[in-house]
C-alpha cells in the first residue's frame, strides 16, 4: 500500500516528468571509439571498417548505420572477434538510443556489450564509463532510478580510476547522476553533483554546457521549492539556447516552467509557458511527451476534462513509443481521473485497471531492484533465480524492507549530509559571487548576440524585399507575356495544349512560392503590421518573465501607421517595457496609446523605484529612444523621481502629416526667395 500511495501522488509524477526532461537531453555518446588496428587480420580489419562507415552515417541515416553495425556484429560473431563485438554493440546501442528511441533494444545491446569489452577491448578503458553511463541512462528512462544511480557510480569510479580525460563524458555523468538523484528524491545529494559539474572546468565559450547547467540549477531550485530562482535559471537557460538556435531545448525549458506553474496552481501562467514552448519548436511539440503531459495537467486542473483527455492520450502514445513506463502509468491515472469526472465510468474503470496492472509490474521490478542492490556485491546472478521463488514472501516483507532501507539510508545520508553541508556552506557563498560575475559576462555576450541578430534581421528583410519586389515583379511580367503567347501563336493556339498549361502552372506556382518565402523570412513583420496587436503580444510575453502587472489602455480611433513608423514606435515601446522590467523594480506598468487625428501619443508609466533624470548619464537604451524620436520628428519626455516611478511621454505625428507639412514648407521656400 505504501508504494501505491506514492505513485498516486500526481506531484511526484509531474516532478519526475521535469527531471526526465533533463536526462533525456543528455544523450549517450558512443561516437568516437579509439579503434586501434594493431595486429589485425584482414577480415577483422573489415569489421572495423564497417563500424567506421556506420559512424559516418549515424546521424543522417540511422537505419543504414544500424544495418552496418549488425553486419559487423554477425561477422565478428563468426570470427569470434570480441573487440569487434564490443565496438559494434556499443555503437548499435547508441544509435538505437539516440536516433531511434528504441530503448529496450538499446539496453540489450549495451548489456551484451559489457562482457566483450572485458574480453576483447580491455585496453580501451574509456569504453567502460561510456557503457556504464549509457546503461544508467537506460535504467533511468525506464524509471529504475536506483539502478541508474548504481551505473552512474560505476561510471564515475571508472573515470577516476583510469584517469580518463573526457570532460564531456564526465559532465554528462554528473548531470545524469544529479537528475537520477533528484528523481529518487535525494535533492541534496543531487546538489553535490551539480556542484561537481560546476567545478569541472569547461571551455568558457561552451554556452551549451552553461545553458544545461542553468537548466539543472533550475531543477534543483524547483525541488527546493524556490519557484523564483527556478524560474530565473530556466529563463536564463532558455535565453542561452535561443542564442544557440537550439529551439528544442528552449522548448524543454519552457515546458519545465509550464509544468512548475501548473503544479503551483497557476494554470494561466502555465498555459502561457506551454504556448511559448510550442512556439519555440512547433515541429517537435507533438512528440514532446512532457509538453503534452503539461497541457493535460493544466486542463485537468482547470476542469477542462475533454481537452485534458486529448493531451493525455497523446502523451500515452508517445510514452508507449518510447517505452517510458512511469509516464504511461501517469497517463493512465490521469485518463481514469478525467473520465471519472466526465461521468464515463466504464472508461474510467478501464484506465484505472490498466494503471494498476502496469503499476504492479513496475512494483515487482522495484522490489527486485532493491534486493539486487543490497546483495549485488555477493551474488548478483543467483539472486534473480531465487527472486522468482521468493516473490510471495517478498510481498509480505516489502514494508519491513522499505523501513530498514529507510533507516540505513537515513543514517548514511545524515552523516554524509552533515559533512557536505559544512564543506559546501562556505563554498556556496563564493559560488554565488562568482555566479553573479558570470552572469554579468553572459549578459554582455547576450547583448553581442542580440546585435548580431539585429543585423541578421536587417539582412533577412532586405532579401525578402528583393525577392518580393524584384524577382516577384519580373515573374509577373513573365507570366503576362506567357499568357499573351498562349493566344498569339499563329495557326495552332498554344493555350489549349498541355505543355503550355503546365508551363503556366509552374510560373504561377513559382510566384506563389516566392511570396510565401518572402513572408516567411520576416514573420515578425506580419504582426508588427498592427501596432496594437504587436504590443498585446509583447505584453503577454513579458508577463511570463516577471511579476509586473502590465496594462494596455487605448483611446481614440485606431490608425494604421506607416510601416517604418509603426516599427519604430513598436521598438521604442518594447525598449521602454524591457527597461521597466529589468531595472525599475516596479509592480505595475501601464501603456497608454492615444490615437489623435494627426498624431499618436504614448505614455508608459510604472510605479518602480525611479531615477534621477538629471544625474543619469544617458545609457544606450535612453540614447536609442532619443535617436528614434528624432527620426520620427516626434517628442519625448521622461519624468522620474526617486521612489516615485517613471513616466515616459512620447508624441509622434503621423507620417502622412509629416509629408504634407514638408511639402508645404518646400513650396513656401521658393516663394520667400522671390
Amino acid at each position: 500500500m505504501k508504494i501505491k500511495s506514492k505513485f498516486l501522488s500526481k506531484h511526484i509524477y509531474a516532478a519526475i516528468a521535469v527531471f526526465i526532461l533533463w536526462a533525456s537531453c543528455t544523450v549517450a555518446s558512443g561516437q568516437e571509439r579509439n579503434m586501434s588496428i594493431g595486429r589485425l587480420h584482414k577480415a577483422e580489419d573489415q569489421v572495423l571498417a564497417l563500424i567506421r562507415q556506420g559512424l559516418q552515417v549515424n546521424k543522417y541515416a540511422p537505419d543504414s548505420a544500424i544495418s552496418l553495425y549488425r553486419s559487423a556484429l554477425s561477422e565478428s560473431r563468426r570470427l569470434g572477434y570480441s573487440r569487434g563485438m564490443a565496438y559494434a554493440l556499443i555503437n548499435l546501442g547508441s544509435c538505437l538510443y539516440n536516433y531511434k528511441e528504441q530503448y529496450q533494444e538499446s539496453k540489450a545491446a549495451f548489456t551484451e556489450c559489457l562482457p566483450y569489452c572485458y574480453l576483447g577491448a580491455a585496453d580501451d578503458r574509456s569504453l567502460f564509463p561510456q557503457i556504464f553511463n549509457n546503461l544508467g541512462l537506460l535504467h533511468f528512462t525506464e524509471g529504475y532510478y536506483d539502478s541508474a544511480i548504481h551505473w552512474y557510480h560505476k561510471a564515475i569510479m571508472s573515470i577516476n580510476k583510469d584517469n580518463i580525460k573526457d570532460t564531456g563524458l564526465l559532465l554528462s555523468v554528473y548531470a545524469n547522476m544529479a537528475s537520477a538523484l533528484i528523481a529518487a528524491g535525494q535533492v541534496d545529494q543531487a546538489l553535490y553533483y551539480v556542484q561537481q559539474y560546476n567545478k569541472t572546468p569547461v571551455a568558457w565559450k561552451d554556452s551549451a554546457a552553461q545553458a544545461q547547467k542553468y537548466y539543472s540549477t533550475g531543477v534543483i531550485y524547483y525541488r527546493k521549492k524556490n519557484i523564483d530562482s527556478a524560474t530565473y535559471y530556466w529563463g536564463l537557460s532558455a535565453d542561452l539556447y535561443k542564442g544557440l538556435n537550439n529551439w528544442s531545448r528552449v522548448q524543454m525549458n519552457y515546458t519545465a516552467l509550464g509544468t512548475m506553474h501548473s503544479l503551483e496552481g497557476d494554470q494561466q501562467k502555465a498555459k502561457l509557458y506551454f504556448d511559448s514552448a510550442i512556439a519555440a519548436s512547433p515541429s517537435t511539440a507533438r512528440q514532446n511527451l512532457h509538453l503534452q503531459q503539461g497541457l493535460g495537467s493544466i486542463y485537468i486542473n482547470s476542469g477542462h476534462y475533454q481537452l485534458a483527455i486529448r493531451y493525455y492520450k497523446r502523451s500515452l502514445v508517445i510514452a508507449g513509443q518510447q517505452g517510458k513506463r512511469n509516464e504511461q502509468i501517469y497517463a493512465y491515472w490521469a485518463l481514469a481521473e478525467s473520465y471519472a469526472k466526465t461521468g464515463h465510468n466504464d472508461l474510467a474503470y478501464l484506465y484505472q485497471r490498466k494503471h494498476s496492472q502496469l503499476l504492479d509490474t513496475i512494483r515487482d521490478k522495484e522490489i527486485a531492484t532493491i534486493i539486487s542492490r543490497t546483495e549485488a556485491q555477493f551474488r548478483t546472478k543467483e539472486i534473480s533465480k531465487e527472486l522468482k521463488q521468493q516473490k510471495l514472501l517478498l510481498h509480505i516483507k516489502e514494508s519491513q524492507l522499505r523501513e530498514k532501507n529507510l533507516w540505513i539510508g537515513g543514517i548514511v545520508l545524515c552523516g554524509g549530509l552533515l559533512v557536505l553541508l559544512l564543506i559546501n556552506f562556505y563554498r556556496n557563498r563564493q559560488k554565488l559571487q562568482k555566479e553573479k560575475m558570470a552572469f554579468i559576462e553572459r549578459n554582455m555576450e547576450v547583448r553581442r548576440l542580440r546585435s548580431i541578430m539585429e543585423a541578421e534581421e536587417e539582412e533577412r528583410k532586405r532579401i525578402a524585399r528583393d525577392l518580393h519586389d524584384g524577382v516577384g515583379v519580373l515573374l509577373s511580367a513573365a507570366i503576362m507575356n506567357y499568357a499573351t503567347l498562349g493566344r498569339k501563336t499563329g495557326t495552332v493556339p498554344l493555350a489549349g495544349t498541355e505543355t503550355y498549361q503546365e508551363g503556366l502552372d509552374i510560373l504561377q506556382e513559382m510566384r506563389k512560392e516566392i511570396r510565401t518565402i518572402a513572408h516567411n523570412l520576416v514573420p515578425e513583420l506580419a504582426y508588427h503590421r498592427d501596432l496594437v496587436k504587436a504590443i498585446e503580444v509583447l505584453i503577454s510575453r513579458m508577463k511570463q518573465d516577471g511579476n509586473v502587472k502590465i496594462e494596455l489602455h487605448l483611446y481614440g480611433q485606431a490608425t494604421i501607421l506607416e510601416p517604418k513608423q509603426n516599427d519604430a514606435v513598436y521598438r521604442m515601446i518594447e525598449e521602454l517595457v524591457h527597461n521597466v522590467i529589468k531595472h525599475a523594480e516596479a509592480t505595475q506598468l501601464v501603456i497608454q496609446l492615444m490615437f489623435h487625428d494627426d498624431r499618436l501619443n504614448v505614455i508608459v508609466s510604472d510605479n518602480g523605484k525611479g531615477f534621477d533624470t538629471s544625474a543619469v548619464s544617458y545609457g544606450m537604451g535612453l540614447q536609442n529612444l532619443h535617436n528614434r524620436t528624432e527620426k520620427l520628428l516626434g517628442h519625448l519626455s521622461i519624468v522620474s523621481h526617486k521612489g516615485k516611478g517613471t513616466t515616459v511621454e512620447l508624441e509622434v505625428p503621423y507620417e502622412e502629416a509629416n509629408r504634407a507639412r514638408e511639402k508645404v514648407e518646400a513650396e513656401r521656400e521658393p516663394d520667400q526667395k522671390e
Binding site: A478, I479, M480, N481, Q508, R515, R529, E551, L554, Y555
Partner: protein
Amino acid sequence: MHSIKVSIVDDHPMLIRGLQSMLADIPFVEVVGAYLSGKALFRDMQQNYPDVLLMDIQMPEQGGEELVRELHKAYPDLVILAFTNIEHPYYIKSMIKYGVMGYVLKSSGEEVLLDAIQTVYKKEYYFDPIINRQARDVLKPSSYKGPQNPLLTEREKEVLQLIAADYSSQDIATKLYISKNTVDFHRKNLLLKLDVKKSTSLVKRAIELGLIF
C-alpha cells in the same frame, strides 16, 4: 462595344511591356499610354486622358500616395486603380483615402486585373480577393473608447485641476515648470480620454466622472 482606355504608370519597363502585350489582345481594353514616372504621366495627361489609370505605388521619384493626391487635385474624375506588390494595410488604407477606386496585386493574374478594370470603369470599388478582407477592415477601423473611468497620470490630473481652475496653457506651463507644448500634449490626451471636444466640456466631464472635485 466601346473599349476602355487604359494608361499605365510603373517604374518597371519590363512589367509595362508585359502588361501592354497582354492587354493588346483584350478587345474591350485599349492601352493609350504607358509611363515610367508620375512626371511623364502628367506631361501626357491632357493629350491621352485614360478611362482607367493603372498605378504602381512604389516608384523611386514620386511615390504612389503623393501621385494619387496630386492627380486627384488636378483631375477629380480620374479613375485610378492601384496595381502593386505591396499588401500592407497602411498602403491599402492610404490609397483608398486619397481616392483610388481599386487595389489589385501584381501577383494576381489576368482575370483579376480585367475584372478590376471593368469594375472601376463603372465607378465601383474593386479589391483584389487576396486583400479584400483587409481592405474591408481598413475601411471601418476599430475605435477605442477606453475604459469607463479613464486612467489619468499624475501629471494629467495636475493639468486637469489647473484647467478647471481656469488657467491658460501658458500659466499652467509656468506653474508646473513644463513647456507649453507639454501642457498641450496633456490637454489633447485629456480631451481624447474623456471623449470631449472642448476644454470647457473637459471640466464638466471630469467632475461627472469624479476625477476632480
